[in-house]
């Protein structure tokens, strides 16, 4: 089932008197439950694309539909609600709330939803903590965790509301190769189990082997989607 439809999306930024076109008429679709990688060099527009899909930025032109809803027609409150209920975010820099511990960071989106019984919240959070392997760090604050552990917390937080879509912007960029691989493996496993759609951006060829499909973006345009193995082997440096 088609979950995301992106049609002729452009994004312009003004930098002083200059206008920079980050996306130039991007078209593609994402099916439900896909594990999709957006690949491109730095500045190619992949983060901008993820931000637009995640409703934290707006396209200058074109159409973005999530589950058939045209997101540019939604107001700020509706977009906030959409992000809370349908989209999970995993940031490159983890973006945990520093004053909350592991449990509370993961619990945070559920409390924003404001209608779940306390017991259900605790059970859901504990289950995710176990899945990401942080059972021994429940009361630790982000500052007391390693990069990999923080990213695991971020993954758990992104999944806690059972979102239909999880967006991860270069989730392994700040991690060593081994930790990066384990994070990708974890994301893939959750994708298989929860059937959530995962879209992650990367320019690390090592992580592409986990992707079901790759969207190759260059200079703000989607160029021929190629199978992951071919990309990995052609040595173009992705």
């Amino acid at each position: 089932m088609r979950q995301i439809e992106i049609t002729q999306v452009t994004k312009n930024y003004r930098l002083g008197k200059t206008t920079i076109q980050a996306l130039k008429g991007v078209n593609f679709t994402v099916e439900e439950g896909e594990f999709l990688s957006v690949v491109g060099a730095s500045g190619s527009g992949k983060t901008t694309l993820l931000n637009i899909i995640g409703c934290i930025d707006a396209a200058s032109e074109g159409s973005v539909k999530i589950d058939g809803i045209e997101i540019k027609r939604l107001n700020d409150n509706e977009l906030t609600d959409l992000r809370l209920r349908k989209i999970g975010f995993i940031f490159q820099t983890f973006n945990l709330i520093p004053v909350l511990n592991v449990f509370e960071n993961i619990e945070f989106p559920l409390l924003l939803m404001n209608h779940l019984p306390k017991k259900a919240v605790v059970s859901r959070v504990n289950a995710l903590i176990e899945q990401v392997g942080l059972t021994d760090f429940v009361r630790h604050k982000p500052a007391e965790l390693s990069g990999g552990q923080r990213q695991r917390v971020a993954i758990a937080r992104s999944l806690v509301t059972n979102p239909a879509i999880v967006l991860a912007d270069e989730p392994t960029a700040n991690l060593d190769t081994e930790t990066g691989n384990s994070i990708l493996a974890l994301m893939k496993a959750i994708n298989m189990r929860e059937k959530s759609t995962f879209i992650f951006s990367t320019h690390d060829p090592e992580v592409l082997k986990y992707a079901d499909r790759i969207v190759n973006i260059r200079d703000g345009r989607v160029v021929n989607p190629e199978p992951p193995v071919a990309l990995c082997l052609d040595g173009r440096g992705y």
Partner: protein, 512 residues
């Protein structure tokens, strides 16, 4: 809410230095506001207690021909209220009126001291308040303290001189006033007077001439029966001397038509026709007999007795007053009663009008208002500075937390969540440090109040609202400070909240 409280509280602990800076400002602000409010409140309460309850009452009624409201301290002659019986009826029928006291007020020239030594253009002037002394004490809660001599009994004639007036007369005329029948009380005398005690000129009787509109006032001989002071705010009312109503009316020629047409004997006609020079003979020190038995001699009573015998005169006009002090059941009904009475006087064509005590005391009220304005400006200034510093600190805090706020927004926190979080953080500080400031300010107010700092001049008396510095912090005052503090907090948080609401979810990633 639990999540908000948790985040707010932990954020404050995380940024201890910043929290302490804001807390210290809120503490200092609350302390100064408490003290400022305590002083303002003490001044208002002091003025109310001392002026309304011991001096003027809530309302003053005067003739409608009296154009100036500030009649109590104005040297201008006051008009007689022509329809006193109607005014009395109106006051008795008004259920808001608790008590009233008719009186007379006017400026007199003292003729038998100073005038012999000085040129006539520098007379000794004194302000007289003619009252029934017994009623006066009852009406104004025994506000007069007799320092020497005695008060005035029922229907007793005489003069009670304010202790400052006696000092003023001594300093200008070198004459020490002594209550009739008393000796020199050394403990009450200034060093200058003590140093010349052997040659000190004393006087126990004064010849007073009322200064009226038409210059037709009479000269009256009055015995000094006592030296007194007002128990509170004597510095402000030091020029007021009390006299019996009868003497005042004689002095100001408040006589009935029958009296003005009285025929007098030939002998007394000569006295009345005497020239200025020969009058001075009558009032010169040698002509006056001091000591016991004086009452039966040459005073005006003797003259009137003689005239009364002729059956031609009734006395001075019994209902001639130029001033009525009115006390109400409580101050809240002042404006309504004022309005009602004035409407009634106007519609009945009664020669009377009521003014509030604040207007009646004229410049005292103005100066007190200035003090209050100055204090309020000071408190507002503290308020303003606190707001600016807190805004600045909170703004920096918000800017530093942009990625955190952006992240919250990105993962689904609505703007109202961010707003509540910031307000709650500041309210936490306001509650904690503001309460400490409020409590400290209240304790400081109590401490200062307990010091009994005395006012040394009129200005300080006005600033203190009494003779001692007595700031007051009660529940009302504390509520007032609490509200001010809440307003400060909310005002201070407005701009940082506005900034925080402008943080986009994109800021969660844009800064990285």
């Amino acid at each position: 809410m639990g999540l908000l409280i948790k985040i707010a509280f932990r954020n404050l602990l995380r940024h201890k230095g910043r929290s302490l800076v804001i807390g210290a400002i809120l503490f200092a602000g609350a302390l100064v506001m408490s003290l400022g409010n305590g002083i303002i409140s003490g001044m208002e309460k002091g003025l109310e207690a001392n002026i309304i309850h011991q001096w003027t009452g809530h309302l003053i009624i005067m003739s409608s021909r009296q154009t100036n409201d500030d009649a109590l301290f104005s040297p201008k002659p006051m008009k007689v209220i022509r329809h006193y019986p109607q005014v009395e009826t109106a006051l008795r029928n008004d259920r808001n009126v608790r008590a009233f006291l008719p009186a007379t007020k006017g400026l007199v020239m003292v003729l038998n001291i100073g005038a012999r030594k000085r040129a006539a253009e520098h007379p000794v002037l004194s302000m007289l308040l003619g009252v029934d002394f017994q009623h006066y004490r009852k009406m104004f809660n025994n506000s007069v303290s007799l320092l020497e001599g005695s008060g005035l009994g029922p229907d007793e004639k005489g003069l009670l001189v304010n202790v400052y007036e006696r000092k003023k007369i001594y300093e200008s005329e070198n004459t020490w006033l002594l209550p009739l029948g008393t000796g020199l009380n050394r403990s009450k005398m200034p060093p200058d007077a003590l140093s010349e005690i052997d040659t000190l000129e004393t006087a126990s009787s004064l010849v007073l001439m009322g200064i009226g509109d038409d210059n037709s006032a009479l000269d009256v001989f009055a015995h000094v029966k006592g030296i007194y002071e007002f128990k509170a705010l004597n510095l402000l009312f030091k020029e007021i001397n009390l006299i019996d109503l009868e003497s005042f009316r004689e002095c100001f020629d408040y006589v009935t038509r029958a009296e003005s047409q009285t025929a007098v004997s030939k002998e007394n006609s000569e006295i009345l026709d005497a020239t200025e020079e020969s009058l001075m003979h009558y009032f010169s020190k040698t002509a006056l007999i001091e000591g016991p038995g004086l009452e039966t001699d040459l005073g005006t009573d003797a003259l009137k007795k003689e005239v009364d015998t002729g059956g031609m005169i009734t006395a001075t006009a019994h209902d001639a007053y130029n001033l009525i002090f009115v006390k109400l059941h409580h101050g809240q009904i002042l404006e309504a009663t004022l309005h009602n009475l004035n409407n009634r006087f106007q519609s009945n064509g009664t020669d009377a009008r009521a003014v509030s005590w604040r207007k009646a005391i004229g410049y005292i009220s103005d100066i007190s208002l200035l003090f209050r304005i100055a204090l309020n400006i000071f408190v507002f200034f503290i308020f303003f500075v606190a707001v600016i510093i807190i805004i600045n600190t909170l703004t920096l805090n918000t800017l530093e937390r942009t990625p955190e706020i952006g992240t919250m927004r990105a993962i689904g926190a609505p703007k109202r969540f961010i707003t509540r979080m910031l307000i709650l953080e500041t309210l936490f500080l306001a509650c904690l440090f503001g309460s400490l400031g409020l409590i400290s300010g209240s304790l400081l107010t109590l401490f200062l109040s307990g010091l009994d700092l005395a006012a040394s001049n009129e200005m300080m008396s006005l600033a203190f609202g009494g003779d001692t510095f007595c700031p007051v912090m009660d529940l009302n005052g504390m509520t007032h400070v609490f509200i001010q503090l809440t307003v400060v907090t909310l005002m201070a948080v407005l701009y940082p909240v506005h900034l925080a609401k402008k943080v986009s979810p994109l800021d969660a990633v844009a800064r990285d």
